[in-house]
């Protein structure tokens, strides 16, 4: 799980162009949206694309994203249980 969390943090930094950020700067349990990383709605769409592209997870119901993107840990947990690649 720790390996996946680190991998995910690196992918988030690269995909969302979070320049100047290192994986350690992202709190594993902090909210990704709002107070945490301060991501916006376009970032949410990029994360949905990332899940499909890298892990084969198709998020049909966009409203589910609110739950899945609560934190990197929650996201990693969801990926571990649902990944097809």
């Amino acid at each position: 799980m720790d390996e996946l969390i680190l991998e995910l943090k690196n992918e988030i930094i690269e995909t969302l162009n979070l320049e100047d950020m290192q994986p350690d700067d992202i709190d594993t349990d902090a909210p990704l949206f709002g107070e945490g990383l301060g991501l916006d709605s376009i970032d949410a769409l990029e994360l949905i694309v990332l899940m499909e592209k890298n892990y084969g997870i198709k998020l049909r119901d966009a409203s589910k994203g609110k739950e899945i993107f609560k934190s990197v840990r929650v996201m990693a947990d969801y990926i571990e249980k649902n990944r097809t690649k």
Partner: protein, 198 residues
């Protein structure tokens, strides 16, 4: 009257005719200008090269104005021109649409319109005046000057962030941007043409 102007190419930066010292080139030059002169707008890193170019051009001329910023105002317009539209972002977006690797990027799609720059500048600075982006066949200084001078006829606009912002790709771009004020002596037209020829 032109208050200040900037020229940014992939190789150099000139503010009011004075060369600024940035050793980088191309896309790295844009990042270097941001880190040196702006620093407080991380959204910069999400912009495409065209938007970064226009954003930095606006920052340099507005900083040079040295007045209170970020106060909502209706009397300032943003009017820009180029030749390549948003071609660079379009090509990058198209690369995410390959049949065997079809993952269209929402972040890239956001920048597949050139007028996003004018919006970014207006949002950052709380400008509520006109925002326009014209795509021309070439850098036609006569058309650009005429359009900007005409924008003052609405009796609301008192100043304009205007100019040329063209990006062929991340390492091939040119911006000539300026901050100008309404001119009662009708010299502005010639001043704009002169700046654009530099």
């Amino acid at each position: 009257m032109i208050k200040s102007w900037v020229k940014i190419t992939d190789k150099s930066v000139t503010l009011n005719g004075q060369m600024m010292d940035f050793p980088s080139y191309g896309n790295a030059l844009l990042t270097e200008i941001y880190r040196s002169k702006v620093k407080d707008y991380p959204k910069f890193f999400k912009m495409d090269a065209l938007c970064k170019l226009g954003f930095l051009g606006s920052e340099l001329v507005i900083q040079d104005e040295n007045t209170n910023r970020f106060v909502p105002r209706e009397d300032r317009a943003v009017i820009l021109f180029n030749r390549s539209g948003s071609l660079n972002a379009d090509v990058n977006f198209q690369a995410t649409l390959q049949p065997d690797d079809f993952f269209p990027s929402p972040a890239l799609f956001v920048y597949t319109l050139p007028n996003i720059i004018t919006g970014e500048i207006a949002i950052r600075n709380k400008y509520l005046g006109e925002t326009s982006f014209y795509v021309l066949e070439k850098k036609d200084s006569e058309t650009i000057a005429s359009q900007i001078v005409a924008s003052f006829q609405d009796n609301i606009t008192k100043s304009v962030i205007g100019g040329w912002v063209d990006c062929v790709d991340e390492n091939n771009f040119e911006a000539v941007m300026f901050l100008c004020y309404r001119d009662e002596e009708n010299k502005l037209h010639e001043e704009i043409k002169n700046i654009l020829s530099k």
